[in-house]
């Protein structure tokens, strides 16, 4: 039996590599052989920021394929375990697969070793996944995630950004990735405060996403007709909280009210 005399470590990715190579996604090799990239879905703007009690990760819901809409209600913010969040921008296929693998990897390690990885270890695990995706990234399937979580050892929220080489940089305040990220960052630069409360953090995040959607055609804002709202997740000592659509909708209405032209 393969499991019995197979891999004995605590990494799910190494287990796949050594004992189940047929299950590993090998996008890089495929594109290297065909040399061309078919149209694929791309996710747009995501942000991550620190607030007084932890971190917040948010993303719009639009995926585009060139100039067309690939999906109006894609999920870009994932809880990878009880204290960490990942947001994806870039090629949606490999990015979602990466989030799934990362979640399994964290859980696998926790079950095998009896203890979860430290937040720093989780951030490094994601870096190695991105590094493995480099061949596909060179073909145009770059995955550029944000990673954030609550560090239970240091009792604080932490945020990391990545580049396609697997480079990993910790951010002290906030960061954004995706097509509308310039505008989201400009917005956050003005509203940001590390001592923000939960409500202020939600406001900052939604304001940044609204600004990004305003200026960037690839970023989806709030779709009131279909009731599709950006996804906001908070992480703190208490774990992960999904901000309800109702609350997001309310904050959005306030932003809209401030921007309404007289007579409109």
């Amino acid at each position: 039996m393969r499991f019995w005399d197979g891999y004995k470590g605590s990494s799910f990715m190494e287990l796949l590599d050594l004992d189940f190579p047929q299950l590993k996604p090998e996008l890089g090799a495929w594109f290297a052989s065909t040399g061309e990239l078919p149209p694929t879905a791309h996710g747009t703007t995501c942000i991550a920021l620190r607030w007084a009690e932890g971190a917040l990760v948010a993303g719009d819901r639009l995926a585009t394929m060139g100039y067309q809409v690939a999906s109006r209600d894609i999920e870009k913010v994932y809880a990878t375990d009880a204290y960490s969040l990942m947001a994806i921008a870039g090629a949606a296929g490999p990015a979602i697969e990466m989030a799934r693998l990362l979640g399994i990897q964290f859980e696998h390690h926790e079950k095998i070793e009896g203890e979860p990885l430290e937040l720093e270890g989780k951030a490094n695990t994601l870096a190695s996944l991105i590094k493995q995706n480099l061949p596909a990234a060179m073909q145009g399937l770059a995955v550029v995630p944000l990673f954030a979580g609550y560090d239970r050892r240091r009792r604080t929220g932490r945020v990391w950004k990545y580049e396609i080489t697997g480079g990993r940089y910790e951010e002290q305040e906030f960061d954004s990735v995706g097509s509308g990220s310039i505008f989201a960052k400009e917005s956050l630069k003005k509203s940001f405060s590390t001592s923000a409360t939960r409500e202020q953090a939600i406001q900052m995040a939604l304001l940044a996403l609204t600004d990004a959607a305003d200026e960037d055609r690839g970023t989806g804002g709030v779709d009131l007709q279909r009731a599709i709202y950006p996804r906001l997740k908070l992480v703190s000592a208490a774990g992960i909280e999904d901000v309800a659509d109702d609350e997001v909708g309310q904050v959005y209405q306030e932003i809209l009210a401030n921007r309404r032209r007289p007579g409109a």
Binding site: M1, F3, W4, G6, Y7, K8, F12, L15, L16, F20, L23, R100, L101, I104, E107, H108, K111, I112, G114
Partner: protein, 231 residues
Amino acid sequence: MSFPFYVNPEQMSQDKAEFARKGIARGKSIVALEYDQGVVMVAENPTRLHKTGEVYDRISFAGVGKFSEFDRLRKMGVQWADVEGYRYSRDDVRGKALANVYSQVLGEEFSRSMKPFEVEIVVAEVGDPELLGHEGNSLFKIGFDGTVQDQMGFCVIGGSEGNLQSHIESNFRKELPLADALRLGRDALQRAENGSPDLPPSSLEVCVLDRSLLGRKFKRLTQDEITSLLG
């Protein structure tokens, strides 16, 4: 040219079985019981090396005997479950299939290798009335030679199984609250020949599969939780 000695297969199997039983009898017992919210596992274990563990969303594991052997089996189960869940879906990882995998491995090792495993294990799975076809809980007991038993209500492995079995049999009923199930488990363990007659919460290792939890149903109870449940 030399020939290997002839060994009667029946004799060899008996010898191996006796050897395995002796090894298992030296260890402390573990009890797994169904309660109104799922399945609880109770082990006498004052150390921090666990004998029970989470395998997957609805599946837990317990092993008695040689630590290195049952812990390797536990890890193998986690690997199997995570690969199955990755290959298909989380809902496709089932306790019965895992019990079969264990049965194959233990059965093969028993007949092939000189030294059989000195272990007995339980695979527990919590059901849910909402899940069509998976309403009930399952408890599978797998022996050192790969025999599988599908047990109803409760399951005992290790040391002086007989004493414990009869105590639980006469006191067990369906839909026990967690505190009662835990107390019954502890009382049974206290009847073990090699156990101590008065087990404090600090020498108990308790974990549950609680169907009311969101997502992963496995939870290890803390010292405080065990103390307050035992009352």
